[in-house]
């Protein structure tokens, strides 16, 4: 597994926030979902996932709650806070601007 590039690293926060915006879930489910939606392109080691989640929690963007899952085990469920939602909007905006700017530059080069 290669190390994600810097840009991707910076946007990991946004991806995690986006995933958690859909529904509260535990760390394992987040890693499954990330792999699933990005079609294995964005690979994130489990070893980076948990520190990233803890960081978001310490920032106050997500909050954790211990719940009993469907199969009867206690698991830590993360969900977005109001602050996290605002942060997600901000980062999505940034990302939109950044990616359109980049694609413009890339197209320019091809022309």
């Amino acid at each position: 597994m290669s190390k994600p590039s810097d840009m991707v690293q910076g946007t990991l926060d946004m991806l995690l926030l986006k995933i958690l915006a859909l529904e509260p879930m535990n760390g394992f489910a987040v890693s499954q979902r990330l792999k699933q939606v990005s079609g294995d392109v964005l690979q994130m080691s489990d070893g980076s996932l948990y520190p990233a989640l803890h960081k978001l929690e310490q920032e106050g963007w997500i909050t954790a709650e211990w719940k009993t899952s469907i199969n009867g085990r206690r698991a830590k469920y993360y969900s977005l806070t109001r602050l996290g939602r605002r942060q997600l909007e901000k980062e999505t905006d940034n990302w939109g601007r950044l990616s359109s700017a980049i694609s413009r530059v890339v197209k320019l080069k091809q022309a």
Binding site: F28, D46, S48, Y50, P51, H54, Q58, A75, K76
Partner: protein
């Protein structure tokens, strides 16, 4: 960060801090859960359970590492590290109790000396007076024809007040205190009273603790408004804080007054050190003997202190230019050159020259700081020694991944903790020392208040000293330790300590020897100065003289009864066995006399533009010069024939005769007291100059008037005894009581004790005692420092010494080697100390009496003492090293 943000994050931080265990457990659970789910997933894909679990763990890249990374996001690590460091530091200090005790005691001495001296300085020159906006207050000084600075007369005050409304919000007058008697309900006690205009208290912006102050309408007319305001401390100490005191009738200085109020706690008047205990309207000062009846009208009395409060936004320069205009107008009226100047009221209050106090404060703070620096050096040395021992430990920590900054932080935590412990102990010590200052007996009727207490300034000072100490002491060893080469240290052990370490410590010891020698020499100079002052030829002989003061006025006597009482007292006293002579005097030398008279002298015309001659004066009875052993050079003593109604006579001192009659025969010359021009005074005798008012001036013109002709109710009986004067105390007090049982008797003391006043020896005694305690502290610290380092160095070289001895070196040679090292260090230190002491001594030259700043005896004695003790401190470890058994030494480690 927005507050909204804190809503989410603060509970998390608190949780990480205080519920760390739970947070860690949850982290455990979370990761274990993940691994289990992952394993289950892989098993479902067909892996064996073992393989699946291994894969899951691999993807987590080490479960402990991930945990650590998660913990790192918690952002309270620094605090946890600190707590950990503190715990660790406490454990280290507990584990080496000897080290801890020595360090804490040393620091406590250093910081204690500093806080004690700072609390003194705080009281004298730092703490602002307890009035409203003290920085707006100034006092006015006048100068006539460019000479002298004086107060201001009442008519001029009124004029200035009218013409400076634009710059001063108010002017008031305060006439400095004098000690009177106050009798309430038949019991009398001394009281120092200041006389003020009615607007004084309003100008100070203070509120009475009880009753009222003098009203603005009071105080302007002579003898009117007989009211008295007491100071808070006087009310508490003399009347036990009785609220019924308000409205009480009393006799102050023999006049009926009504007590109307009590000033607020902490307000002692406007002079630091002096406790003004009562306030009366200015007009009431007319009744005082030394104040002429017309003092509110005459322009000659320029003794009043005018207090001014600057208007908000007006600075001193602007006020001064307004004063210059007024001074110009006054000059035209008087046909003279008058200048008026406003001086800011310093925290020391109306002290003639606050710079002296500031200077003395600075000197003693400097000395105290030197003691603290010495203490710091001692501890830094201990730390260096310990750091050497702990290099292995530090290297181990570094090898295990501790960063350099983390190691430095840990060592600094230890030294700061030690400094904190030391400063807490030091503050307790300082508190006790400053209350010891407060209880120094002052042998005086002048109420002195030494209001030392720990306020926030003292606390801040001690805290700053502690932090500085902690950092200074810790930083060098910490840097050195954290710097060490890990592998080298792990291999070599303690002996890897570089030569630089020795050099550093040797330098520290030399500095210690130098610093404490400086303190010792300064202490020695002060002690010698005290000795000189006590042995000085004062012009009189204070030995074998007993003083006893009485005040017949307090006992309800009128003047003729008082005269009769004094006559009887003198006759009976002189008849006592063991009494060689006895006399009465209005004031005793170095007492709080301060009587000056402006004179007109026959045959003497003051040079143009100069003021009238002024001389100090005292009123004494016959035999005064015999009792005080002041040699009568010419003429005669006072006698029975100098009666109330006969020719006024005086005896002048040599300086008086020389100054005004230039070698002409002074006997039979006349002069007049300016307040009483109708009665020419004839000179009947000349005495040798003596110190009268204070220890700082001797050869000033002074005259003695006859007590019979210049009567004073309050007088001091002085008795020259054959035996020890103390032995006569009871007998004399008994004699007074037998003449009048109700007679108040005070200040029964020997003349030598009576010299311990502010004008007399007190300042010398005080500075000598202070300097001596600092010197002894410095010596103690130097001994501990030198002994510690030399013995440690000898210990360190045990191995080397063993080899030397095994190779055939003689013990004497070893002794010499170790001794030589100590000798060089001490020598360098002594040299530096002498130079430093010479620099400080130059500064304090003015505070010394009869001792040159470079007094060779002091320098040599102090150097020999210190060098001797330091060499002794070298000798003990050297001898121990000499006795080393080579086998033991070689097996060492």
């Amino acid at each position: 960060m927005r507050p909204e943000h804190w809503w989410y994050t603060i509970p998390l931080r608190l949780r990480s801090l205080f519920r760390r265990r739970q947070a860690d457990r949850e982290l455990d659970d979370e990761l274990r859960d993940h691994v289990e789910q992952k394993t289950a997933e892989y098993v479902a894909k067909g892996m064996t359970p073992q393989e699946a679990r291994r894969q899951a763990l691999l993807e987590l890249r080490g479960i402990e590492q991930t945990k650590e990374k998660c913990r790192d996001t918690r952002r309270v690590n620094w605090l946890q590290d600190l707590l950990q460091d503190l715990r660790y530091a406490l454990r280290m200090l507990r584990k080496s109790p000897a080290f801890t005790t020595i360090a804490v005691v040393t620091l406590a001495l250093g910081i204690g000396a500093n806080t004690a001296i700072f609390s003194l300085v705080d009281c004298l020159v730092v703490r602002p007076l307890p009035v409203d906006h003290p920085h707006q207050l100034a006092y006015l000084i006048s100068s006539w024809n460019g000479n002298g600075s004086k107060g201001i007369s009442y008519p001029d005050y009124q004029e200035i007040r009218k013409q400076t409304v634009s710059v001063f919000s108010d002017l008031s007058v305060i006439r400095m205190f004098r000690t009177d008697g106050l009798s309430v309900d038949g019991k009398s006690r001394p009281i120092s009273v200041a006389y003020a205009t009615g607007n004084f208290f309003g100008q100070m912006g203070i509120k009475p603790a009880l009753g009222r102050f003098i009203l603005p309408s009071e105080g302007g007319a002579a003898g009117a408004d007989p009211v008295l305001v007491l100071s808070y401390s006087y009310w508490k100490s003399q009347f036990a804080g009785d609220p019924n005191i308000i409205g009480k009738k009393a006799l102050a200085n023999g006049q009926p007054v009504t007590i109307v109020g009590v000033a607020p706690a902490g307000f002692h008047g406007l002079i630091s050190l002096v406790d003004v205990q009562g306030y009366m309207p200015l007009g009431m000062a007319v009744s005082l003997k030394d104040e002429p009846a017309d003092f509110l009208v005459t322009r000659d009395n320029t003794s009043l202190v005018v207090m001014a409060r600057l208007r908000a936004g007006v600075n001193l320069q602007e006020a001064q230019s307004a004063l210059n205009v007024v001074a110009q107008r006054l000059s035209e009226q008087y046909h003279g050159r008058i200048t008026l100047s406003a001086r800011r009221l310093s925290p020391a209050g109306l002290i003639v020259d606050p710079r002296i106090l500031t200077f003395v404060s600075f000197i003693f703070l400097l000395l105290a700081t030197s003691v603290l620096v010495l203490a710091c050096m001692n501890i830094a040395n201990l730390f260096l020694v310990r750091a050497a021992r702990r290099q292995r430990e530090m290297a181990m920590r570094a090898a295990l991944g501790a960063t350099r900054s983390r190691l430095i932080r840990q060592l600094l935590t230890e030294s700061l903790l030690l400094a904190t412990l030391g400063s807490v102990a030091g503050m307790i010590l300082g508190l006790n020392a400053s209350s010891a200052f407060s209880s120094i007996p002052l042998h005086t009727t002048l109420p002195i208040i030494l209001d030392f207490h720990f306020d926030w300034r003292v606390f801040a000072y001690a805290l700053a000293a502690a932090v500085l100490t902690g950092v200074l002491v810790g930083i060098v060893p910490a840097l050195r330790t954290a710097h060490g080469d890990v592998s080298e240290i792990l291999h070599e052990g303690e002996r890897a300590l570089s030569a630089g370490g020795y050099r550093m410590r040797n330098m520290l010891v030399a500095a210690q020897v130098g610093g404490s020698l400086m303190l010792l020499i300064v202490a020695g100079l002060f002690a010698r100065s005290l000795e000189k002052v006590q042995r000085a030829d004062l012009g009189f002989d204070a030995n074998h003289v007993l003083n006893l003061s009485v005040d017949p006025h307090e006992a309800g006597y009128d003047e003729s009864q008082a005269r009769e009482f004094y006559r009887a007292l003198l006759d009976r006293t002189r008849a006592l066995p063991g009494v060689q002579s006895a006399s009465l005097a209005a004031a005793v030398p170095m007492g709080y006399n301060d009587s000056n008279a402006a004179l007109e002298i026959d045959g003497y015309r003051p040079p143009k533009g100069q003021e009238r001659p002024v001389a100090g004066c005292n009123s004494v009875s016959s035999q005064y010069f015999e009792t005080m052993r002041i040699p009568l050079l010419r003429g005669r003593d006072f006698s029975e024939s100098d009666g109330q109604n006969s020719q006024r006579v005086a005896i002048v001192n040599q300086a008086f005769a020389d100054r005004y009659w230039h070698g002409e025969d002074p006997i039979g010359q006349h002069f007049r007291n300016f307040g009483d021009l109708g009665h020419p005074i004839e000179v009947v005798g000349v005495v040798k100059d003596s110190y009268e008012d204070d220890i700082f001036t001797k050869d000033q013109p002074f005259f003695f008037a006859s007590l019979t002709q210049n009567f004073d109710f309050r007088a001091t009986l002085q008795v020259r005894t054959a035996a020890a004067p103390e032995a006569m105390e009871r007998e004399l007090t008994g004699l007074v009581r037998s003449l009048e049982p109700a007679m108040p008797v005070f200040d029964v003391q020997t003349m030598t004790t009576a010299l311990d006043t502010l004008q007399g020896f007190l300042i010398f005694r005080f500075t000598a005692a202070l300097a001596a305690s600092l010197g002894i502290l410095g010596l103690l610290l130097a001994v501990v420092g030198v002994y510690g380092v030399i013995s440690y160095a000898a210990n360190q070289r045990t191995h080397e010494i063993g080899i030397r001895l095994a190779l055939g070196a003689q013990p004497a040679q070893v002794l010499k080697m170790i001794f030589r090292q100590g000798f060089v260090i001490v020598g360098v230190g002594v040299l530096g100390g002498v130079l430093a002491a010479a620099a400080v001594a130059k500064l304090i030259g003015n505070l010394l009496f009869g001792v040159p700043p470079l007094d060779p005896l002091t320098y040599i004695a102090a150097s020999l003492l210190l060098a001797g003790i330091a060499m002794l401190a070298c000798y003990i470890p050297a001898r121990r090293a000499m006795r080393v058994d080579p086998m033991v030494a070689l097996r060492y480690e």
